[in-house]
Amino acid sequence: KTELKAATLAPEGTPWFDFLSKWEQAVEAASDGEIDIQIFPSAQLGNEWEVWNKVAKGRIEIGLFSAAVMSEKVPPMALMSTPFLFDSEQTAYCVYDTELKGEFTELLEDRFKVISWGETGWVQVYAQDDLSDVANADGYKTRVAPQAMSRTLWASVGANGVEIPFADTPAALQTGLVRSGEATGISYVAFGLNKVAPHLMLTRHMHQAGSIMMGKKVWNKLSEDEQAILIDNMPDLNELRQGVMGVEQYLIGQYEEAGGLVQHLTPEQRAAWKAKVEPNWPAFVEDLGPEAVALWPRVLEAKKACGE
């Protein structure tokens, strides 16, 4: 009997947990119970950075990773989260699934077996004031996540950035230490950020994917049959993508219905945001290191090939 531990940050009842859970059941059925996947939700086995190392070393067999940890551990992966790179998630999906599938898999391949890409969704800007007009972000106190993407975004629009851990953010918004930040619509509502920063600007500035991966060593120890069962029974990634986008839209819709200040940026407003950030793309890419610099033109080509 093969027991595989699968770790994720996502709690039960979320699209991510459901996706893993569906896989678990399919794998169990297909293997007559010989392959037993145990899911550990809610970061029970540690935060993503710990889990990343443990999966790499084979201590935990499977990890569902967010784009945040992937782009920090493998900097060229951050290219896909370049602020305002994509206008539509379909373009990003196309790049992951067809154009650069091989390139991205290769980046991870020395230590991991990529089972599937993941989906975190669009990151949006939230604030205590309406920042639809990017000029309003100038000098505005904002929470900057400890990532190059976040730094680039906020520096480009001239915000007064404060680097604080995510856990401190709600309290910091309450006290006014910061007055804005960025989050996916799901975390914005789920963590109650809407109560302390009621304006949600649908900037859709950064798409984040993620992945489901196994450690290379563990993967190589499995029999070919087992490997095939794991791969073949992985549910369609589009289910996860639609699930995440669906929950996001539902939560934002509910918030708006309850009187929440959801700002639907006009194309001109979003373009104004993008115009501030785009000139800083080269510096952002440079910062990610030579591998990223080499890959960047291919990302731009792939984006074009995918229709943007």
Binding site: K5, P11, E12, G13, T14, Q38, F40, P41, S42, A43, Q44, L45, G46, N47, W49, E50, N53, K54, R59, K141, I164, P165, A167, D168, P170, A171, A172, Q174, T175, G176, L177, V178, A190, F191, G192, K195, V196
Partner: protein
């Protein structure tokens, strides 16, 4: 079975040979990994590293150092003088002042450890000097320190909010009234327990001169609270501000801190960290192993077998958490149990925010219960007193806290009223 006996003998043998607890835990951790885990000893170190590789812990060494600085300098004694002059007409005035200070400090720190250390390093010597028994003083401080996690901000509540997807701000708001309620309970008890202590006259002259000499000390909570609530710095950064402020005041205004003192306090704090951090790290690493073996979730499933209605559920949840709180640290208990309990609770109509407060208050008591009670361990390290004495000291306070827990569990409005 034989393996478990082996573990027991190994630990006892080491203790008989006067091996310190850090080494014993390393030995136990190694044994557990070899006997039940994957046999990879590097995992222990990997987990130790992961356990302390966290921004939220950053305020601990800074507040430790700040406490040590204030202990050497004059801020502490001048602050005590002001508090004492204020509460003089109340029996057990100094003890009451201690509890109140803990409550105020809780409003600027998110952890119980920090509250205990920061207030305790000032108040403990003063309480002893005032003639309170060591055990009462330790009990009052260790318990008062736990207010740090109920009165917002609160690190455990943040963890709960993250794993159960409950609004952290709602949790913070829900913690205010229960926190004040516990403060009143603890304050009343200290006055009651010391009702035979002679009261003193309130003297306006003494108060005035205490205020004058203590103005810089009094200004400190104002700067910290004001700085945090008006958004100048985060609670974590407030530790650095507190340290900077106390250094300046002690060195250049009170002029009671020599460079030699400074060196001593830094050394003192470092050795304290050396005693505390390895314990924290090794305990968390053993915890992680238990989680991977699914021990806690099996325990929760077992409890679920008894539940019939809301009242039974609340009683059983509290029972389970009290047991868990004895052996497990707060963060791990929340990370592992909160999602399970929240799901079970929804069946019985328990508001997740209310459950978050119940868990926090319950595990807050766990900080005071042996064998693994963080505040006991911290009090032992910081005040250099025997474990058994501290345990004896907190016993009556645990009783008070249990009463508070029952009220908070069965009167949801206390938590939810402000949330609206």
């Amino acid at each position: 079975m034989i393996l478990s006996l082996g573990l027991l003998f190994l630990a006892l043998g080491a203790l008989i040979l006067r091996v310190n607890i850090a080494a014993v835990l390393l030995l136990v951790g190694a044994y557990v990994h070899l006997a039940w885990g994957d046999g990879e000893l590097t995992y222990i170190i990997e987990d130790m590293w992961g356990a302390i590789d966290k921004e939220v812990l950053l305020s601990i060494p800074l507040f430790l150092l700040c406490g040590s600085v204030m202990g050497k300098g004059a801020i502490a004694e001048r602050l005590i003088r002001v508090m004492r002059s204020l509460t003089a007409p109340v029996p057990g005035g100094m003890a009451l002042a201690t509890i109140l200070t803990c409550a105020v400090f809780a409003a600027i720190s998110g952890s119980s450890a920090v509250t205990l250390i920061a207030v305790g390093s000032i108040a403990y010597p003063a309480l002893i000097k005032d003639g309170y028994s060591k055990s009462f003083a330790l009990g009052a401080l260790a318990t008062g320190g736990t207010l740090g996690v109920v009165i917002p901000p609160s690190i455990p509540m943040i963890l709960y909010g993250i794993v159960t997807e409950t609004s952290i701000v709602d949790l913070f708001t829900a913690g205010i009234l229960p926190g004040l309620f516990l403060t009143v309970l603890l304050g009343s008890y200290t006055v009651f327990a010391n009702r035979h202590v002679a009261r003193e006259q309130f003297s306006i002259g003494e108060f005035g001169s205490a205020l004058k000499s203590g103005i810089w000390s009094l200004f400190m909570p104002v700067i910290l609270l004001g700085g945090i609530y008006s958004g100048y710095f985060s609670p974590t950064e407030s530790a650095a501000v507190a340290l900077g402020y106390s250094l300046i005041v002690e060195r250049f205004i009170h002029r009671q801190l020599s460079l030699r003192d400074l060196y001593d306090t830094a050394l003192d704090t470092t050795t304290m960290m050396g005693a505390l951090f390895p314990l924290l790290a090794i305990a968390l690493s053993i915890n992680l192993l238990l989680t991977a073996e699914q021990v806690p979730s099996q325990l929760a499933d077992w409890v679920a077998g008894f539940v019939e209605d809301r009242t039974t559920f609340l009683l059983l949840v509290n029972g389970l958490l009290l047991i868990v709180g004895c052996v497990m640290d707060m963060a791990s208990a929340i990370l592992i149990l909160a999602p399970l309990l929240q799901q079970m609770g929804e069946v019985y109509g328990i508001d997740p925010v209310h459950l978050g407060v119940i868990m926090t208050v319950n595990l807050e008591i766990g900080l005071l219960t042996p064998p693994v009670g963080l505040n006991l361990i911290i009090a032992m390290t910081a005040f250099r007193e025997p474990f058994s004495l501290i345990v004896r000291g907190v016993l009556p306070f645990i009783g008070i806290m249990l009463f508070g827990l029952i009220v908070i569990s069965f009167v949801p409005a206390l938590s939810l009223w402000l949330v609206g």
